[in-house]
Amino acid sequence: MSDIVSIIQRVLGEVDLVLGWTATGAGGVAAPDRFQTAAEAERAVFNATCVHNLAVHLPRLKDKTVGIVAKGCDSRSVAQLIQEREIDRDRVKVIGVHGLGGMIDVRKIWRLHGYGVPVDARIDSLFIDGREVDRKEYLRQKCLGCRDTVPVVHDKLFEAQGPPITGIAEAATVEAILPGTGLGASLTAAEAMSAAGEDESRPLSELFANMNPTERRLFWREQYSRCIRCYACREACPMCFCRDVCIMQTTDPHWTGAGVDAGEAEMMQLIRVNHLAGRCTGCGECERACPVGIPLMLLMNEQNQVIEDLFGYRAGTDPEARPPLLTFDIKGDSRSEK
């Protein structure tokens, strides 16, 4: 494996700072960090717990030239930010990570082995508390169907040389019923299953797909009743960059009130889904950041799929593309005319 430290040090010659990871999280998992000097970059790591989408920081660093380590999924966020003229392509150096074998869901590890247990998550193998385990069982849900193993935009490539992702989707069933994030989500999943009247071994997305609208309404009501309005979903989203003027918090227009209840939380998420139409790259950071484990990606994935079906468009795959909702097709759009 080529060395992430030396790549970052090389890129540091061209930019003010580089966004990457250090192994300073609980039990040695990765935490985001920034490097400004070659000495600082000595700390940099890249392993299978580097799940965070660092592109979220780019809009806040517009006054600097920035290097960023980006997985395939993260690179779509970078491409989308370039498309939206939110960042300048010339001022960003992307170290694309190529050939990953899927990332590890550390919450899954913590849930089964305790918080802070020592984790050595290499690209191709996983050690928990010194013992090797089958890494397939701890992969993140979203990595199983990965379509973005090759970074969309990159200036340098970091060859991670992980195992191929294809074929592992069937093997990874442990805890697949949960959307892969919140520790407290099991209660929710049980509720969801009782609503759908199905067995426990099926993924939540499948259960959701089999619910009728009334069941879904109750399902969401129950999910949203746990929302504490911390706005972590918004803060973690690389595409939610209108920080000071977010309509989730303005009183004029008054889309949401100040209350913390299921109704307001639902409106918040409807706003988010709406504002991310044709922009969401499906990185899953909103769901990962949610402290109460609301499966937000059920909505985002659905919308991304609908947009792909309707307009043949995937956000963040082409910085030059025309967003589908900012244009129209006089003839082609008439399919649903009544």
């Binding site: 609980a26 998992v29 407290g184 309404r217 746990r226 209840d261 409106m267 709406n274 759009d333 649903s336």
Partner: protein, 163 residues
Amino acid sequence: MAELKLIGFLCNWCSYAGADMAGTARMKQPGELRIIRLPCTGRVNPLLILKAFQQGADGVLVSGCHPGDCHYNEGNYYARRRLELLSRMLPAFGIEPERFHFTWVSASEGARWADVVTQFTRKIEAMGKMSGAEQGTPPAKASCEAGVGAPDEQTGSEDAVPA
């Protein structure tokens, strides 16, 4: 059955005039629909529709100028895409897509307007009020313990942000 709440977002130039025409011609039409006049269907933020449902509407109708007839030339073309996306997303939000209808009625189509309103109202009457649709007054917040596992541990340094 409690009275249905139906909301209609109508464009000022075609459908609102069409509805006006149906009224002045004294055409018979059901009275449940509450009409909101907008400059153009291009002004219809999908959130307006979702908010209406969320606040307890049982059905939402959007009507504008026929494609090609927009007073602003292309407003309804943008609307068509947005509303198509919205109508496909409604099931995921937990709203029957049949409760939402978007169509085109011109200023001269008073009879068509009466027909659209009648059919839409009948359809929603057949479906009934939205069950569990007491959205205006959401249930008291579930207790915090309900879903939160070990909150202190969850906010571990995994999510630490570069300063």
